[in-house]
């Protein structure tokens, strides 16, 4: 009965590769998010989708491309991975754009070597 799930939990890859992280929520929420948590535990929003529509797009390299096939899924694809992309990526969801209590996934620890 996991509310927000992410796969994979760990991802180790080499520079230059392309990888995807998947996120699914079974809460019936309309809004989903991607956050990046760096080595200093600083949490920064990257993207947000509401009903499959992009509503927040922070200053993120265009190597990062979110995709929302339906409102229960928000995937993150990263092209040409760089060392600085190493971080923990958290997916989250909230009921809608106004009711903003966010539920987080377990995180995906990405290590780029």
């Amino acid at each position: 009965d996991t509310a927000v799930s992410q796969t994979p939990k760990y991802l180790v890859t080499q520079m230059g590769n392309d990888k995807s992280i998947k996120c699914e929520q079974n809460l019936g929420h309309d809004t989903m998010y991607w956050y990046k948590q760096d080595s200093k535990k600083f949490l920064k929003i990257m993207f947000s989708y509401n009903n499959k529509e992009l509503i927040i797009n922070e200053t993120v390299p265009n190597r990062f491309s979110p995709k929302s096939p339906d409102k229960a899924h928000l995937n993150l694809h990263i092209n040409s991975l760089e060392l600085g992309d190493s971080a923990v990526y958290f997916c989250a969801s909230s009921p809608d754009r106004v009711r903003n209590e966010q539920y987080f996934g377990p995180g995906t620890r990405l290590t780029v070597t």
Binding site: V4, T31, Y35, K40, K41, F42, L43, K44, I45, S48, N50, I55, I56, F90, A92, S94, D96, R97, V98, N100, E101, Q102, Y103, F104, G105, P106, G107
Partner: protein
């Protein structure tokens, strides 16, 4: 510019001692404020929201509009309170949460 400040990165307290995590914000209008907690190797989870005015796990937080603060307090720290705590305000009607840099709390037995 909208900003949230959590001044102390690391806070060590003895078990049974009071703990206070400071959060100051600079937002126009009336923001909604949250505290999130992240236990070791776990997901972030909501701890408190100011509109609920509730106490969760012994923690309380009062919104002080005059001082633009939303400090988190607990009178007697427990070992299981060791975690990372994030203050997160957002403007009403805006779904963007702005997380502070977080406070690492270590409760010493």
């Amino acid at each position: 510019a909208q900003r949230v400040t959590q001044p102390e990165k690391l806070l060590s307290v003895f078990k049974g001692a009071p703990v206070e995590l400071k959060c100051n914000y600079s937002y126009s209008g009336s923001p909604e404020l949250f505290w999130y907690v992240q236990y070791s190797r776990q997901r972030l989870q909501l701890l408190l929201r100011h509109i609920s005015r509730e106490s969760i796990k012994g923690f309380t937080a009062d919104l002080n509009k005059g001082e633009t603060s939303f400090h988190l307090k607990k009178p007697f720290a427990q070992e299981e309170d060791s975690a990372m705590y994030y203050c997160a305000p957002r403007r009403y009607g805006n779904n963007r949460l702005a997380f502070g840099k977080g406070n690492q709390v270590v409760v010493i037995p």
